[in-house]
């Protein structure tokens, strides 16, 4: 049961990651995975490519803290979290989160918690090339609201 936390430019193989999660303890009968992809339309504009910037010295620390919080709260089995940086095209995979647990509730909630915190705390920034030129993506209030449900301070 060793977690995998990676920030990389390379693509990832969903089925290989799923199989790695399956190799976890047989006591864990639930696996939940989530993948995020580059959309063709965002915030009202057609989007071409995407550039993902990050703060390298802080990114790994931030992701480790989020994973540690999820584990402390739900007692999860194995956790895999991968986030890509650099140039990405429409349809490309951006992020993967996969967790195992004994039962489905902890796996669903743990995966959702990791994504909600990642979207509001991990130091990544997206710049899109749109029909109107390059544009930094603005943060969504709905992402902050999604995170707040875990702390109850909505």
């Amino acid at each position: 049961m060793s977690d995998v936390i990676a920030v990389q430019t390379e693509d990832f193989d969903h089925s290989a990651l799923y199989n790695a999660l399956r190799q976890d303890s047989l006591s864990n009968g639930a696996i939940v995975t989530f993948s995020g992809l580059v959309r063709d339309f965002n915030q009202g504009l057609a989007v071409g490519d995407l550039f993902l910037e990050h703060y390298p010295a802080m990114t790994q620390i931030s992701l480790q803290q989020i994973v540690a919080q999820a584990r402390a709260r739900w007692g999860l089995g194995k956790i895999i979290l991968i986030h890509r940086v650099g140039h990405l095209a429409q349809g490309d995979q951006i992020v993967f989160v996969g967790v195992t647990s004994m039962h489905r509730k902890a796996a669903f909630e743990g995966a959702q918690f990791i994504m909600d915190y990642l979207k509001t705390e991990a130091p990544f920034w997206k710049k899109e090339s749109t029909e109107l030129g390059d544009k930094w993506v603005q943060a969504n209030v709905s992402d902050t609201t999604a995170r707040q449900r875990w702390t109850g301070d909505e």
Partner: protein
């Protein structure tokens, strides 16, 4: 010496990715004042409510104390995932 980094849209707005501040500053608020002293045009970006700060790779605030050798990063709300 404090190393100051900028990320995301803020990096474009201040037109640099990093600078070094030689004089000693007590806290983040003090650092912002010093930066604005030399770059008055940065005031609106650094004082924006949405601008976040991390001190030594951990989220901080205006009152976070600084010591020589610290790394301070300013950035807009994050948009990964």
């Amino acid at each position: 010496m404090i190393k100051v980094l900028f990320f995301g849209q803020l990096k474009d707005q201040v037109q640099t990715g990093s600078i070094e501040v030689a004089q000693s500053v007590e806290d983040v608020a003090n650092l912002k004042k010093t930066l604005v002293l030399y770059h008055p045009q940065w005031s609106e970006y650094l004082s924006a409510d949405s601008t976040l700060v991390a001190v030594n790779q951990t989220i901080g605030n205006e009152n976070t104390l600084l010591t020589d050798g610290d790394e301070v990063a300013f950035f807009p709300p994050v948009t990964g995932g």
